[in-house]
Amino acid sequence: MTAIDNRSSVECAGRTITRQEVEDFLYAEADLLDHWNYDGWLALFESGARYEIPTTDYRPGWSPHETGSFVDDDWPLLLARVKRLKSRKAHAENPHSRTHRLVSNVRLSAHTASVNSTNGTEHAESTEDCFRVAASFVVHRARDGRFDAYVGWYEHLLVPTEDGLRFRLRRSVLGHESLAAGARLSFIL
């Protein structure tokens, strides 16, 4: 038996977050990235957040701490990445790529963590201050006379704050078997 959850909203930190609110957040994010506004983009993260891109052989459940990745940025590395991308010396993105992003298939769910009880059994427990967002992306990228498309899924953790939603984890999972020639991830996916 398969039930389709109602994912038009999620309860988190005593608030009801709607899909429309999350979609607006993701569209605004795409706009910032496509216009190379990296300071604006970084402001969408809570301090201490992470940015991850697993490799194309990724299987659900893999931890970046135990496997190879394309991107495994903790907060200091994410700051270094943004600083680098804003520099003229980020040669792989100078001149900048032109990107165009489409985000769709947005679904919300409660963030649950497996917790071992004292009796040894596992149960799912809702953590209170963040929730999960799944979405599909297509990022088109033009550079060096070539045009590449990147497709995949977002698996984000978002935190509702007074000032709006913030990323705690921003993860892009590629749908490719491998990265095509020239399709290196020198920009934000």
């Binding site: 194309t56 970046p64 190879g68 903790d74 590395l77 040669h91 020239g182």
Partner: protein, 450 residues
Amino acid sequence: MGSNPRTAPAPMIVEDWDQLTFRVNREAYRSAEVFARERGWVWMHTWLYLGHETEIPNPNDFKARTLGGRPLIFCRDTAGEVHAFLNSCPHRGTVLCRENEGSTRLFQCFYHAWTFRNNGEVAAIPDAGAYESTDEFRASMGLRSVPRLEIHEGFVFISFDPDVPPLLEHLGDAADYMSMIEQQHVGGMTTLPGTQLYGVRGNWKLAVENAMDGYHFAPTHNTFVGYLRESGYAVTDDNQYAYNLGNGHGLLVLTGHGGRISMIWEPRFGEDERIRTDAHRAEMTQRLGEQRAHHVADESHILFVFPNLLLFDIEGLSIRQLEPVAPDQTDVRAWQLVPRNEDPETRALRMKTVVSFVGPGGLATPDDIEAYEAVQRGIQATAGSGLPELDFSDMSRGMADEVKGVQGRSIDEGAMRGFWRHWVDAIGLDDGIEVNGERPASFLSGRDVR
């Protein structure tokens, strides 16, 4: 001897000891004829890196992989033996195994259902009675093994030529640097899942040059060097050397580029890691002796094993395999090699640190890729210009020291010259290299072999 198209333009290399110049014909990166020679002469007659034994740890594990454009099955049979088979049904040539990886006792061709055990023997041919001499026929129809397979310290090499010298002879002085890697940790090393698979729009030899080229580090990786400085670690090019190890193999010995997880601590690794690093270093000294522990722990190495293996033994350890696809396109596969037994916190720090530098999403490798792709585009400028003397790239840096017998620095181009001299022999071109003047005695004595 493989394909042998009409002779490519010679010379590919002009080495001049009077002018102290070393120049490489840009056709080497562009020409379809040169590429065909590489496929036919180099890839068909040399040991090639296939993969690491730990990628197929259990009986029945397999990986599908392509080398020299040939689809292969890299597997461990039910009895635990490692094999490499052509991934092609002996019947009509169908790709037999269409999964990238998995575990199986039997490989079955979907086309006519011929079935093979993972040691290569025929398991079943449907309606075998239709063949006249069934047993004999059956015996002749096993999976085609690659002619040679040998393993050194877990690194599995194959050759499509049955007459190559033994692997250790080919590896020569490179072999011990691979042993040093295995000796880094009690219990040895293992590969992890999470393979970086990516293509580059550049000739494979540009990837080799880039790895053996310390000269590009500061300008190309300006932003990464800045990150290291800000995290409290000085970066220097002093006392860093390049070595030609013979047979086309090369080595950079680096002491100034960042720390090494569990070997050389630096501030961005944190205080807990300092304590673990000290303990590990003491354990190594006890196990290996001070001199060996020094070479294993205190130096970073970038080792190139001709023609398709690069070992980045730097902050962590990346295995990188090069698969030329076309003159201007290369597939790269990279695995992280880690201690089999490792504290989870160190492992997490290692993965983060390694990935921050290497790979197509790191803070440094994309700039390297940009460099080789930019070379590939730029060298069109002098192609067929009617001025062939302009159509050469210069790799003379450090030759003046080479004549004096001074050890080549990592920021010179000596390791690249060693690679190119071997390459021009390996592609079997008469007149492939033009040598003007006399190679100095200091050079001929092999002074730069460590």
